[in-house]
């Protein structure tokens, strides 16, 4: 069976095929999930290199551990669990400092001095600050914000991935969003900044 034939198959079926010895099925899973895991890691670290490394490690680990997955229907959640753990490991390895002082992120701009003519510049700076604000969140809140806001996972799925009760997840998201609101207010960033295209 080639990749084309795999295209419309469910993840669970692909996992079963891979377990049955069809190596190509795993490549289809990689194609299907690579960008999502990369986006997840990129938003967590704000670094393409780190995101690429986490993505690669995630799939290598998944390749070796796929036999241990009990419920093949939960492949996606399982993959996020691996990626999440690898992100946390990486964070421990390099330290929190690096994640919150990433070089690519600039200091907060003085938005009150900007003019509408500087709209595009303002927007770009705003986008950089968005990521900086996200990186300043505590890790557990950041993880929930990314999974919910960007990965579109259900609260139930996030709870399963992180091994926490659903109410804890909702609470972390609430505090995460509240903290972001305070950060944006202190940096004088509002939603109009992003209206420039």
């Amino acid at each position: 069976m080639n990749t084309g034939q795999h295209k419309h198959m469910e993840d669970a079926q692909l996992v079963q095929d891979f377990r049955g010895g069809n190596h190509q099925a795993f490549n289809t899973l990689v194609t299907r999930w690579q960008n999502r895991i990369h986006h997840f890691a990129y938003r967590f670290f704000a670094s393409s290199d780190d995101a690429a490394e986490i993505t690669q490690k995630t799939f290598i680990k998944a390749y070796h551990k796929l036999d241990t997955l009990d419920d093949v229907e939960k492949f996606g959640s399982w993959l996020y669990t691996i990626a999440n753990n690898l992100c946390l490991d990486e964070l421990k390895r390099v330290g929190r400092k690096r994640a919150t002082s990433y070089d690519a992120l600039k200091a907060a701009p003085q938005t009150e001095t900007a003019t509408p003519a500087d709209g595009t510049v303002l927007r770009n700076e705003g986008l950089v600050l968005l990521h900086k604000a996200l990186l300043q969140l505590p890790v557990d809140q950041r993880m929930v914000v990314i999974m919910k806001e960007y990965e579109g996972l259900k609260f139930r799925e996030i709870a399963e991935i992180l091994g926490e009760p659903e109410n804890t997840i909702k609470s972390r998201l609430y505090y995460g969003l509240s903290t972001l609101k305070k950060t944006f207010n202190s940096w004088n960033i509002n939603k109009e900044v992003f209206d420039y295209e």
Binding site: H23, F26, N27, V30, T31, Q34, N35, H38, H39, Y42, R43, S48, A51, A52, T55, Q56, F59, I60, Y63, G126, L127, L130, H131, L134, V145, K148, E149, Y150, K154, F155, N167, K170, L173, Y174, L177, S178, L180, K181, F184, I189, N190, K191, F194
Partner: protein
């Protein structure tokens, strides 16, 4: 529903995971509480802002390359996988059957012999040996018993005699020791008496001498005075 309960539903509401009934209930509360509504709007605005966060796709497509397996190893693994059952129940049965086969083969090689009788279970290896029963006749048994009785009687007599002799020896030895002791005691007493007599003799001799001496002096004194 109070404000705190309403806040607990904010996240479900924002991400559209709230049941219709609860959603309606929350909206009624929000309509009555402008502050609560403002708080929710601000959170919604934060959502709207962070949704602009740009993201980068992976630079290159990952491809997992199948590890190359050696021909024989691959063939052997395929054979094992084909032969071995997948179901755990079947696996257990397969293992049990294998054990039985191994047991039978080993039994044949070692000429194992298992017998069960009223006395229990008997397991033996190697050629079976015929048990040859060679016993004594009743007459021989009687003769042997008589011989054993006689021997026992002799042994008992000898033992009694030995004990009696031993006791007589012991008694004789004790009497001799007692006689020796008495003789020593008598000698010691005689020596003490003899020593006493000699002392007494000396004492009386001295007294006689002194008496004679005194008498002599008295006589001499009387003669001198006359």
């Amino acid at each position: 529903m109070n404000k705190e309960t309403a806040r607990l539903l904010f996240m479900d509401y924002l991400y559209d995971e709230l049941e219709d009934e609860k959603k309606k209930e929350l909206e009624e509360i929000l309509a009555k509480n402008p502050e609560l509504k403002k708080e929710l709007d601000e959170l919604s605005e934060v959502r709207s802002m962070i949704s602009h966060l740009p993201v980068q796709d992976a630079a290159e497509q990952l491809v997992m390359v199948e590890p190359k397996k050696s021909g024989f190893k691959n063939w052997w693994q395929n054979l094992i996988e084909a032969l071995l059952p997948l179901n755990s129940f079947t696996k257990a049965g397969f293992a049990l059957a294998s054990l039985v086969i191994v047991f039978v083969i080993l039994g044949a090689l070692t000429k194992m012999n298992i017998t069960v009788n009223g006395e229990g279970f008997n397991l033996a290896f190697g050629e079976k040996q015929e048990i040859i029963q060679q016993g004594f006749t009743p007459r021989q048994v009687d003769y042997l018993l008589q011989q054993m009785k006689l021997e026992n009687a002799h042994i008992v007599v000898e033992a009694v005699q030995a004990v009696q002799k031993d006791q007589a020896d012991q008694l004789e030895k004790t009497l001799i020791n007692f006689a020796d002791y008495m003789e020593q005691q008598r000698q010691a007493d005689l020596q003490i008496i003899n020593s006493g007599l000699i002392t007494m003799e000396k004492t009386y001799y001295n007294r006689f001498r002194k008496t004679d001496q005194v008498l002599g002096e008295i006589i001499q004194t009387v003669s001198t005075n006359n």
